[in-house]
Symmetry: C3
Subunit: 136 residues, 3 copies
C-alpha cells in the first residue's frame, strides 16, 4: 500500500469561474504510480469549491448562472463589513471543497462525461490544490 501527496497551482481569471483541473489531477495520479486506490482532491481555500460534471461550454455557463442564483450576492452580509466576499464563502461551504475519486488501472476512474472543476468564487486569484492518493 502506497501513499502519495502532490499539489498543483491554478491561476483563475474571473470573479466566478469553473476551471477544468482534470489534467492536473491525472498527472499526479500517473506520477504516484498507484494503479488501484482512492484519491482525495482538496482545496485549502474558503472561497472555492470542487465539483465533477460535464465539460461542455454551454453547461459550464449554466452552472455559473446557477451558482450565482444559489444565494443572493448583493445582500447586506455581516462578513462584508470585514471582507466583501460573504456569498463566496457561503457558496464554497454549500458546494464543498473536496472530491473523492476512484483510481483503477493507473487512472482516475471518471465516467465518460465527467471532468473535475475547481470553482473559483472570489477570483481572480492564485489557488493551490492538494491531492492525496492511497492505493497500490
Amino acid at each position: 500500500m502506497k501513499l502519495f501527496s502532490g499539489t498543483f497551482g491554478v491561476r483563475t481569471e474571473a470573479h466566478i469561474e469553473l476551471v477544468n483541473v482534470t489534467p492536473d489531477v491525472s498527472r499526479l495520479v500517473v506520477k504516484s504510480g498507484v494503479r488501484e486506490g482512492i484519491a482525495l482532491v482538496y482545496s485549502p481555500h474558503t472561497t472555492t469549491a470542487l465539483i465533477i460534471n460535464e465539460n461542455e461550454s454551454r453547461l459550464l455557463s449554466d452552472l455559473k448562472g446557477a451558482i450565482k442564483d444559489l444565494v443572493p450576492w448583493n445582500k447586506a452580509y455581516e462578513h462584508n463589513l470585514i471582507d466583501d466576499n460573504a456569498p463566496s464563502h457561503v457558496v464554497g461551504a454549500f458546494l464543498g471543497g473536496s472530491v473523492g475519486l476512484p483510481i483503477a488501472r493507473g487512472k482516475i476512474e471518471l465516467g465518460t462525461w465527467q471532468s473535475i472543476f475547481l470553482v473559483e468564487l472570489d477570483g481572480p486569484r492564485s489557488r493551490e490544490i492538494e491531492v492525496k492518493i492511497v492505493g497500490e
Copy 2:
C-alpha cells in the same frame, strides 16, 4: 491493508427518484472482507447524486420536492440546446456524486436512521455505481 473494488447496477424508473442502495453497498463491504476502513461510493454519471439520509417514505417525497425546488427546471438553459437536461446536471453538481463511509466490525458504520441513496436526476436510466474500500 487491503484494497477492494466493486460495482453494482441500478435501474431507475422515474425522471427524479431516490433509490436506496444501502443493501448493494453493504453486500460489497461484506464481500471485501474489510473489517475496519473507509469506503468511497462513487457515481460516474453527471446527472445523478449520492446522499445519505433517513429511509422514510414521506421524507423521501419531501426530499424529491426540495430537489425540484433547488433550481428552476423550466428555464432556458443553454445546454438544453444540446441535450434537454441542464438542471439535472446542475443539481448533480450541487449535491455531489460520491459519499465517504466509515467501516467498522465488517459493516458500514451508518447511524441508526441513515441509508444511502442514489439520486436519479435524469431517469429512467441504467446506472453503474463504483465502490472502493481501503482497510484491514
Copy 3:
C-alpha cells in the same frame, strides 16, 4: 500503513448552530500517530452536516442565515406529520454529512482560513462524530 478510528461528542445548544470541531478532529489526528494520510470525518446523524469554512463570527452568522434561506422551514412537509423536522433532514442531505481531509506532518492540512464545523440543524442535541484515518 496504519488505520485509526476515533469518535468525539458534541453537545449543541441551539436549533441551528455551527460548532467548530477542529480541535476535536486535530486531537484524534495527533492520537492516531499518522503523519501522512487521509481522514474521514463522518456524522452518523440525519439532521446535521459537516462543512469547512472560515471561523469568523460574522461569517458564521451569515452562514446560519443562508442555511435558513436554502429551503423554506415553515412549509407543510409530509415528514412533519411524523417528526417536525423535515427541513433539517433536507438541508443535512444537501450539505452532506462528511468531509475528507488531507493529513501532512502529523496535522490536518487545513488552509490558513479553514476550520471544520459541525452544522446542527435540529438541536439542541448530543451528537457523536466518527473519524477514520488511513496513512503512515
